[in-house]
Symmetry: C2
Subunit: 130 residues, 2 copies
DNA sequence: CTATCTGCAAACGTTTTGCATCTGT
DNA sequence: ACAGATGCAAAACGTTTGCAGATAG
């Protein structure tokens, strides 16, 4: 129980199952992936609970919502700074831990207060290549 | 008529109206923006035609589909290499013509054949700031 | 005890689809 | 002539919402 306390949100069995599914998960799962996985334990699990929990985690900075997959949101529990590469055929997402020093010069920031950036790569993964 | 020939797709009045709306358009319009604009001329215009035309243009490399706005696809007729910054309050998108020399070192490309990349900035625009 | 969460179903907004009709070439 | 485009409505999709009942703290 102690390990979940850091999330600072009310702990329910359903939420704990979601935390456990996400922990160390490198698959960048969609809401449906999470739903299906947790439904095995809790047959009444609903999407409302999945989305509610993901939103609670996101607010507290414990999960990142990825918009790289054009069909659905994907979620990443790894909060360390990194980028992603997605396979345009099978939609598998891999992490890219490369320090790409992008920053937007003032002259081109068009008066925006920049609060974030996202760098994504697209390609075909090894499996789909053959 | 000649100026549209380069698209290499069948020219219909509806499509020409869409081309004209897109030409030089810096607003990164959504499908609905295009639909509404063209409907003024063609009251029977349908979303099917808008999406069909956009897809035809995209296939031929004459429009870019932007995924930067999380609620809807946006379209950009400017095919020159550039990035975007979106306002998280009003969703206005500006172009960023800055040569950000990002490239993915082989060691971190995870066996992917990289075919594209996307760099996006998020922030609050001047208008929304006040 | 009560603020918050769960589960269900219905609603939502965008995009896609099926199909009968029409139109460029 | 005919491949392919149009227009309409319905369907599909991921996500959000309303609400009654349940539960963590």
């Amino acid at each position: 129980m102690e390990k979940y306390r850091r999330f600072n949100i009310k702990l329910t069995p359903q939420r704990i199952a979601i935390f456990d599914y996400l922990e160390g998960n490198k698959n960048h799962p969609s809401a449906e992936d999470i739903y299906k996985a947790v439904k095995k334990q809790f047959s009444t699990m609903s999407f409302a609970t999945v989305y509610n929990t993901l939103e609670a985690l996101r607010e507290k900075g414990n999960v990142r919502e990825l918009k790289i997959d054009e069909h659905k949101k994907r979620y990443d529990p790894d909060m360390s700074p990194h980028h992603h590469v997605i396979c345009t055929k099978c939609n598998v997402i891999h992490d890219v831990f490369s320090d790409i020093g992008v920053h937007l010069p003032d002259e081109v920031s068009k008066g925006f207060d920049i609060s974030g950036k996202s760098i994504e790569f697209f390609g075909v993964c090894r499996k789909c290549k053959y």
